[in-house]
C-alpha cells in the first residue's frame, strides 16, 4: 500500500513523529499523518489503537511527549484546547458537550457571547447563531432559541458542528460521530460532511463502521497499537484490505492450550431472545468447562450483555435458563447467590473498594452472602487468615501484607484481587469483561492461566475482550456482537479478519436462526 500519497495541495495540518505514552502503554508511537483541505479523512483501528489519543493531541487536550504539529505550515504547540480552537481546530467528542438546559444559541457561543460591558446582546446572539445554522444548512430544522435538551441526538451533533463552524474551524475532528445515530440521521450528517468538504475544511473522523467509512471518506488512516500502519486512498482499497491492516499482527503472547471436548459439560446458562434497552434478541448458550469469548466493537453491547447476565441491567424480555431451570436474574446479589461472578471492565470504579484492605476486598462478595451480623471471623481469626492467604496464593498476589489498601497495588495485582473475590464466593459461572486491560505482560499470562485453570475445575467462563488475540487465544467458542445482538458465532481459532468482518457488519456468520432488524440496532 502506498505510504505517501502525492497530492497537489499543501497539507492543512500535519503531525510528525508524535509519541505519547501513558503509564504502561505507548499510546502513540512515532505517528506521522498529513490532513488536506477539502478532504474527508477517516481514522480507523481497533480499540486501544491510539485513534482518540491522536485526535486529542491534535486538539490540544493532550500534550505529546515528542514530535511536532504543523498547522498551515507553521509549527504549533497547544497547551489548552482553547488555543487549538482559536487556531481553527475543533473537536467534537463522543459524549456530547452541550448544556442541556441552555438554548442552541447559548451553547454555540458559550464563552464567546457577543457583549458590551458584560451585557449580552441576546438579539445579536440569536442572529449569529441563526446565521451559523444557515451556513451549514440546518436553519430550518433547528431554532437558535430551542433548548439543547429538546433536540434529538443527531440535531445535537449538528449544533456541535455549527459551534465548530462558528469558531471558524478549518480542521474539524469528530470522534465516532455516527455511533448513536439512526441511518436517516447518518445520511443527514454525511450530507453535511460533504458540503463542509466543498468549503475547504479538513474533516477527520474516527469510525468503527467500515461501510460508512467507504461511503464518505477520501482517505483512510489505519492505526494499530499506537503505530501508523498506513494511509490509503479509499478508492484504491477494499474493506478486507483495511481489516487486514487493522489486525495484521504477530502474536506476542503465549496462551494456555484450549479446552478439549471432554472438558465441556452440560449447558449451565441459556438465554433465548433476551432483550432490554441496549440489547436486542440475544441468544446464548454456555457450557460447563468452556470459555466463551465475546468479541465486538465498542458500543456493540458487550458490556451490556455482561450486565444483563449479572442482573445489573436485567433483560426485560426473553427466557433465561440457569442450570436447566428457567429463571430471571434480577440483581447482582441474586446472581452472586446463584454462583455467578462478574469481573468488571473498570476495576477502580466497579471492582474494588480502593481504600479498604486487600483482605476485605477479597471477602466482600462472600460476606454479602452471609448474614449481616455474622462475625467476620466466624471460624476464628486463624481460619480466615488462612482463607485469605490461600486465595492469595491461588491467584498469585505478591504483597507483603493483605492489610494493604487496594489502591496501593499494581493493575495486575488489583485484577487478581478482584478475581479472588469471586473465587472466595465459589462462583461457577465467571463473566470477565476485559480481564487484562492495562495489565503488564507477565500478569496477563498469569491471569490467562488462572482463567483456563478455572475451566478445568468445571467453571463456565464468559470472556469479553476487545483484544482479538486474547479472544482467539483463549476462547473455545467465539460470539461476535454487533449492534446490540449476537452478530454471529465463530469456532475456536477463527481468524481476526473473520471476527472483524462480523463485528463491522460486513459478513454475518449466523449459526442460529436469529432474525435481526438492522434498523432496531441501538436506540
Amino acid at each position: 500500500m502506498a505510504q505517501d500519497l502525492m497530492t497537489e495541495k499543501e497539507p492543512l495540518m500535519e503531525v510528525r513523529n508524535i509519541n505519547k505514552a501513558f503509564p504502561g502503554v505507548q499510546a502513540l508511537d512515532n505517528v506521522s499523518v498529513a490532513f488536506y483541505p477539502g478532504e474527508v479523512h477517516a481514522v480507523v483501528g481497533e480499540n486501544g489503537a491510539g485513534k482518540s489519543t491522536l485526535m486529542k493531541v491534535m486538539a490540544g487536550a493532550y500534550k505529546s511527549d515528542s514530535g511536532t504539529i504543523l498547522f498551515q505550515g507553521e509549527i504549533e504547540s497547544f497547551n489548552h484546547p482553547v488555543e487549538a480552537q482559536e487556531m481553527g481546530i475543533s473537536i467534537i467528542y463522543q459524549e456530547f458537550n452541550l448544556l442541556p438546559e441552555r438554548t442552541v444559541a447559548q451553547n454555540i457561543f458559550l464563552g464567546r457571547e457577543p457583549a458590551k460591558i458584560g451585557i449580552v446582546n441576546l438579539r445579536q446572539l440569536n442572529k449569529q447563531a441563526h446565521a451559523v445554522l444557515k451556513e451549514i444548512g440546518v436553519d430550518s430544522m433547528i431554532s437558535p432559541t430551542a433548548l439543547a435538551s429538546s433536540l434529538s441526538v443527531a440535531e445535537q451533533q449538528l449544533v456541535e458542528i455549527a459551534k465548530a463552524i462558528s469558531l471558524d474551524a478549518k480542521v474539524l475532528i469528530m470522534d465516532e460521530p455516527t455511533a448513536s445515530l439512526t441511518s436517516t440521521e447518518v445520511k443527514l450528517l454525511n450530507d453535511l460532511i460533504s458540503r463542509l468538504k466543498t468549503k475547504g475544511l479538513a474533516l477527520i473522523f474516527i469510525s468503527h463502521r467500515l461501510s460508512e467509512v467507504f461511503e464518505i471518506a477520501d482517505k483512510i488512516t489505519v492505526l494499530k497499537d499506537g503505530q501508523h500502519v498506513g494511509t490509503v486512498n479509499t478508492k484504491e482499497v477494499t474493506s478486507e484490505d483495511i481489516v487486514y491492516m487493522m489486525v495484521g499482527r504477530v502474536l506476542d503472547h503465549y496462551f494456555p492450550p484450549l479446552g478439549s471436548s471432554e472438558d465441556f459439560g452440560d449447558v449451565v446458562l441459556r438465554v433465548k431472545d433476551g432483550s432490554n434497552n441496549f440489547l436486542n434478541s440475544v441468544y446464548l448458550e454456555l457450557r460447563k468447562g468452556e470459555i466463551l469469548g465475546i468479541a465486538g466493537l465498542q458500543g456493540s453491547g458487550r458490556t451490556e450483555l455482561a450486565q444483563a447476565l449479572f442482573g445489573v441491567v436485567p433483560f426485560k424480555s426473553g427466557e433465561i435458563e440457569l442450570r436447566g431451570k428457567p429463571t430471571a436474574i434480577k440483581n447482582p446479589f441474586w446472581a452472586i447467590s446463584r454462583r455467578i461472578g462478574f469481573v468488571t471492565e473498570d476495576r477502580k470504579a466497579e471492582g474494588l473498594i480502593l481504600i479498604q484492605p486487600i483482605r476485605d476486598n477479597m471477602l466482600l462478595a462472600i460476606r454479602s452472602l452471609q448474614s449481616l451480623f455474622a462475625f467476620i471471623h466466624q471460624d476464628g481469626i486463624r481460619q480466615s487468615r488462612n482463607m485469605v492467604s490461600a486465595l492469595g496464593e491461588q491467584v498469585d498476589i505478591r504483597v507483603d501484607s493483605y492489610g494493604k489498601e487496594a489502591q496501593d497495588l499494581s493493575g495486575g495485582n488489583q485484577q487478581k484481587v478482584v478475581l479472588s473475590k469471586w473465587l472466595a464466593s465459589e462462583s461457577e459461572i465467571f463473566i470477565f469483561d476485559e480481564p487484562t486491560r492495562g495489565i503488564d505482560v507477565e500478569s496477563k499470562a498469569r491471569i490467562h492461566d488462572i482463567i483456563r485453570g478455572l475451566t478445568k475445575q468445571g467453571v463456565a467462563v464468559i470472556m469479553i475482550s476487545s483484544e482479538l488475540p486474547e479472544i482467539i487465544g483463549m476462547s473455545d467458542r467465539i460470539l461476535v456482537m454487533h449492534e446490540g445482538t449476537i452478530g454471529g458465532e465463530l469456532p475456536a481459532e477463527s481468524s481476526e479478519t473473520d471476527i472483524m468482518l462480523v463485528a463491522t457488519g460486513q459478513n454475518n456468520h449466523r449459526t442460529s436462526s436469529i432474525s435481526v432488524d438492522p434498523e432496531r440496532g441501538e436506540k
Binding site: V82, Q85, L99, E101, G111, K127
Partner: protein, 331 residues
C-alpha cells in the same frame, strides 16, 4: 455575517428570556387552595384584606432576597449554608455600627457589604481552591461566623436610626419599600443570569465544569463570584431584617432557618441541586409558596410547631421530587 430574518416570535420570546417555570402552576394551585380553605374556615380574611396580602409579600422579602443569591450558587452547582449566619452577622453589625445615628448609615451599609463580600470570597475560595465539598465548606464557615458573632456580640449595643427603619416599614405610594427592594433584587438577578456574560458562564460552569474549562471559561472565578453575590444578598436580607427589628440579634438568621429555606425554595423553584439549571423567577415562586402556606396556616390557626413539621416535610419532598428519578446513589 448573514442577517436573514428569524421567526419574529422566537426573537421576542428569547429577548425577554422568560419562560414561565412550571412551579407557578403549583403556586396558583396553592394560592387558590389556600383561599378556599380561608373562606371555608376563617371567614375569608385573606381575600377581603389587602394588608394580609401585603404581609405575605413582606414575610417573603427576607427569604426572597437571600434565595435569589442561593439560586446563583446553586446554578453554579455549589451551595451556601452559611447565609443564615451572614444574615445574623449583618443584623448585629449594622445596629452596632449605626448606634442609632442616621449619619452613620452609609458607612455601616458599606462596611457590612464589604464583610459580606469577604465571606463570599472565602466560601468561594474554599470550595474552588481547596476542593472542599460546598455543603461542608459553608456549614463550616457558618459555624465560624456563628462562633465569632456570639462570642463577640454577647450583648446588643446599638440600634438602627428611625430613618433606616423606613426600609422595613414605610411605603412608596401604596407599595411597601421592602417589596420594591425584593422586586428589584429579583429583576436584577434575572438580568444578571439572562443577559450578562457572567450569567451565561455560570450556567455553563454549573452544567459541566469540564465543558466550561474546554470552552475557555474561568471556572473558579465564576463560582467565587456567585458565592460573593450570594453573601451580598444575605447581607441585604440582614439589612432588611434589622430595619424591621430595630436592632440585630445573633439568632435572627438561624431562627428564620434562612439557610435551609433558601435552598428549599430554590429547589422548589426548579433550580437543580446539581447545577446548570433554574432561575430567579422560579425561586420567587418557591418563596411565595412558602409565604402563602405560612399565611394560610396562620389564618387557620394551625399550631406553629406543626408548621415547622410541615416545613421539614416540604423541604424533603421538594428535593425528593427532583432527585428520586436520578440513577446515581445519594449519600
Amino acid at each position: 455575517m448573514t442577517t436573514e430574518s428569524i421567526p419574529a416570535d422566537e426573537i421576542k420570546r428569547s429577548k425577554l428570556g422568560i419562560r414561565i417555570p412550571p412551579v407557578y402552576y403549583f403556586l396558583v394551585i396553592i394560592t387558590v387552595g389556600g383561599l378556599i380553605l380561608d373562606i371555608l374556615f376563617a371567614k375569608g380574611n385573606i381575600i377581603s384584606n389587602p394588608t394580609i396580602l401585603t404581609n405575605i409579600l413582606i414575610r417573603s422579602v427576607a427569604l426572597g432576597i437571600v434565595a435569589v443569591g442561593q439560586t446563583f450558587v446553586m446554578i453554579g452547582a455549589s451551595i451556601d449554608l452559611s447565609v443564615a449566619y451572614t444574615i445574623s452577622l449583618t443584623a448585629v453589625m449594622t445596629s452596632q455600627l449605626m448606634q442609632g445615628d442616621p449619619e452613620r448609615v452609609p458607612m455601616a451599609i458599606i462596611l457590612v457589604f464589604v464583610i459580606g463580600a469577604v465571606i463570599g470570597l472565602v466560601n468561594g475560595l474554599i470550595v474552588t481552591k481547596l476542593n472542599v465539598n460546598p455543603f461542608i465548606a459553608t456549614l463550616g464557615t457558618g459555624l465560624i461566623i456563628a462562633g465569632i458573632l456570639n462570642g463577640t456580640f454577647a450583648n446588643f449595643k446599638g440600634s438602627v436610626p428611625k430613618s433606616f427603619r423606613a426600609l422595613g416599614y414605610e411605603s412608596l405610594g401604596p407599595i411597601p419599600i421592602s417589596i420594591i427592594i425584593l422586586i428589584a433584587v429579583v429583576v436584577l438577578g434575572w438580568f444578571i443570569l439572562s443577559w450578562t456574560k457572567f450569567g451565561a458562564h455560570l450556567y455553563g460552569v454549573g452544567g459541566s465544569r469540564e465543558l466550561g474549562r474546554l470552552s475557555g471559561l474561568r471556572t473558579s472565578r465564576t463560582i467565587i463570584v456567585a458565592h460573593i453575590i450570594c453573601s451580598l444578598t444575605a447581607v441585604l436580607s440582614g439589612l432588611f431584617i434589622v430595619s424591621r427589628l430595630g436592632s440585630g440579634a445573633p439568632w435572627v438568621g438561624p431562627d428564620g432557618i434562612y439557610d435551609l429555606e433558601s435552598v428549599a425554595t430554590t429547589v422548589i423553584g426548579g433550580t437543580a441541586l446539581s447545577g446548570g439549571r433554574g432561575g430567579v423567577f422560579g425561586t420567587l415562586a418557591g418563596v411565595l409558596i412558602f409565604g402563602v402556606i405560612d399565611t394560610v396556616f396562620n389564618q387557620l390557626g394551625v399550631d406553629t410547631y406543626l408548621k415547622t413539621v410541615f416545613r421539614g416535610a416540604i423541604i424533603i419532598l421538594a428535593v425528593a421530587s427532583y432527585s428520586f428519578r436520578s440513577k446515581r446513589e445519594a449519600a
